[in-house]
Subunit: 464 residues, 2 copies
Amino acid sequence: MDYVLSGITQHRDRFIQELVEWLKIPSVSADPAFKNDVLHAAAYLKEQFEKAGMDNVELLPTAGYPVVYAEKITDASKPTVLVYGHYDVQPADPYELWTSPPFEPVIKTTELHPQGAIFARGACDDKGQVYMHVKALELMLSQQDLPCNIKVIIEGEEEIGSSHLGDFLKEYKEKLKADVILVSDTGIIDNETPSITNGLRGLCYMEVEVTGPNRDLHSGIYGGGVDNPLNVLCRLVGSLKDESGHITIAHFYDDVVELSAEEKAQINAGPVTVEDFEKSIGLPKSFGEQGYTLAEQLTIRPTLDVNGIWGGYTGEGAKTVLPAKAQAKISMRLVPNQSSEKIAEIFAQHFEKIAPPTVKVKVTPHHGGEPYVTPVDSVEFQAANKAMETTFGKKPLAMRNGASIPIVALFEEILGLKTVLMGFGLDSDAIHSPNEHYGLFNYFKGIETIPYFYQYYAELRQQA
Amino acid sequence: MDYVLSGITQHRDRFIQELVEWLKIPSVSADPAFKNDVLHAAAYLKEQFEKAGMDNVELLPTAGYPVVYAEKITDASKPTVLVYGHYDVQPADPYELWTSPPFEPVIKTTELHPQGAIFARGACDDKGQVYMHVKALELMLSQQDLPCNIKVIIEGEEEIGSSHLGDFLKEYKEKLKADVILVSDTGIIDNETPSITNGLRGLCYMEVEVTGPNRDLHSGIYGGGVDNPLNVLCRLVGSLKDESGHITIAHFYDDVVELSAEEKAQINAGPVTVEDFEKSIGLPKSFGEQGYTLAEQLTIRPTLDVNGIWGGYTGEGAKTVLPAKAQAKISMRLVPNQSSEKIAEIFAQHFEKIAPPTVKVKVTPHHGGEPYVTPVDSVEFQAANKAMETTFGKKPLAMRNGASIPIVALFEEILGLKTVLMGFGLDSDAIHSPNEHYGLFNYFKGIETIPYFYQYYAELRQQA
């Protein structure tokens, strides 16, 4: 497969220039002001797949933004890989914190990217990684060297919860028939330490509201006789974890799978030390569930975090209000085999149970997502493993990721397919933050690795 | 003193019409948009004192809004009473909750005010009560019946903390020389139960900030390894009171004076039951420090209330942010003999001590005020007592008020004078809230009672 590296060398400048053009489109799905730009990104991507040589490229409508579809079916006896990605991006604000405008991509070198990185919203998440697939397909199709049949779906609503993807998958279940799903929307440990994400945490996101009196009160006249909803909220939320970082909700850990020593060894094999972690985010001192290492706390243990809290007077100066209401958003990251629905239920039960009779509480669930694991001995995982070993010259580590990609559980549920998460970003690429960037090393390493995945996947399937 | 009641009867309609005009001026000191209106209120009030027959009426400048000064000195051998009030009002928002516009006064009857109440911002707090003094002085001066010398200062910054009053009192200490201070900015229990406020709580208002990482983080990637500042804030704030409603800060209660059984009996003599209290504010269940009655909890026991809290994502829907920072405003009502400065110190020490090493905390004090008690056997208290007994036909109760009037401690500190708090509002008059109102009964009862106060104060001084 020498054509891959020689193709990259030959087209390097064009591949960068095309990436720059692609990242110029401000496809912010969350903000209706960018609607035309999001639609433009879909149409633009359709064109790129056509230019790359894919067949039947089309925009499949959903109740929201369309899904870009492309395929190359060469032989019914070959396995079929379904590639998933997304062309929408997070909002870029706060704009003033960007060192260059988010939709005017520029290449700058950084400590971790001495070969240069492209700075733009979506550079890593996920437009840059999607474009690796476009270019890898272009190289493969130019050689008519396709060991697998390929189908591609790139959606435009990942950053706003993929809320129409479930219906889409159901509607096009037949059309999307495949053997495995390949996604590049994750990362590697660092450019010298390849890794493949083989597990994701799930998510259960709740909102709680504590109400006391029927209106805001004067804290002098009423203070002392009213169980202040803000004090109560603090007390209740503060009690959800104990001093050892353990979550106190009854039955919360019932379904949590304890990993084997071997699996834990893998998770702890990464190069990041506690000191590195603390330094990278300016943290006085790391803290997590006692009895687990930092790497375990971040990936294979569930969490409970307050994501937002509000109530009373929050302006300048002092106002002596005793507020009627206090609210918080609380989310829990889940691990195999916890169920987001079950956790939502026991959270609500627990919160209602610990609330004192002096207040009323309301608990409302937001979206959830299930945890996910790819078995490391599966054909698809081994194929990704071999592909990365080939292009990095080093065996990748199997890494759990603490984040959630709810669509992965959706693929399993609706399409009955496992997903391989072979992404090439770095944690330091500032996705969802100002100055998002993506290393050129990573971009080209992705383009180089993807064809090997198809190659090994077809081979290992045949052997199996 | 028959002229008082006959004067009220004769001028009743005019006294109401003048009150309406006075309340039309939107003298909101907190909002710079109303600056001209606040100044207009000062000038307008100056005119009213002149018309009432007071001498040397002037606007005394401060670094903020001016103080309206008026005097009537008739005889150096008579005692001198210094009247204090304020012509500024609280902001009126939320406007949409007013049943009639806040600066278009109208008279409506209510359950507690069958004779009618005037609805307007400032009706009770404090423009309506200030105007009682203007009209009482008018009636007294028309008879040239002045048992005391009188000085009046009406300030324009009470609702924003009276921040220039201290300097003002120091500058005009000589001019303001008097024997006692009379303030009508408090209330009575109900129109059948006269009472005089003989104690106020102090205030210590703090702001706390808990910082963890140096930026907002993704709760999936970082959750589990970071002691989330919002969780920490809840834990810390939640721990400031125990289950019995007792404040857990070391040495917090050291200086609190326990009242005698007799004093407590007075405080518990009011007609309001726990059920009344709960019903009046739609509270599921009242709660306060165990071992004390509701009336005691609300007046002679210190409190700790969260007045505001904020951090993280507080918009619609769900955002999985692990925020860098969490903040809260926390205030404590103080009782004799606590010191706001000392409590601010021990609060800060305590909060810093209980903060875990995983975060940084910053504690900032806002304004404070000292608790205050008027001895019930003092000449001034007895004078007010007799005045009310005369006009209500019933002995008033000596009541503690849970709120704070920081200027009362200031008067004692700078002028060395005790204050009599003879106000005529009701707790239900919705001061600081939409639909503030003031009963016409209360307005006229105030005009009627004030001259008796001067009368009895002069008499009792002579006897003493």
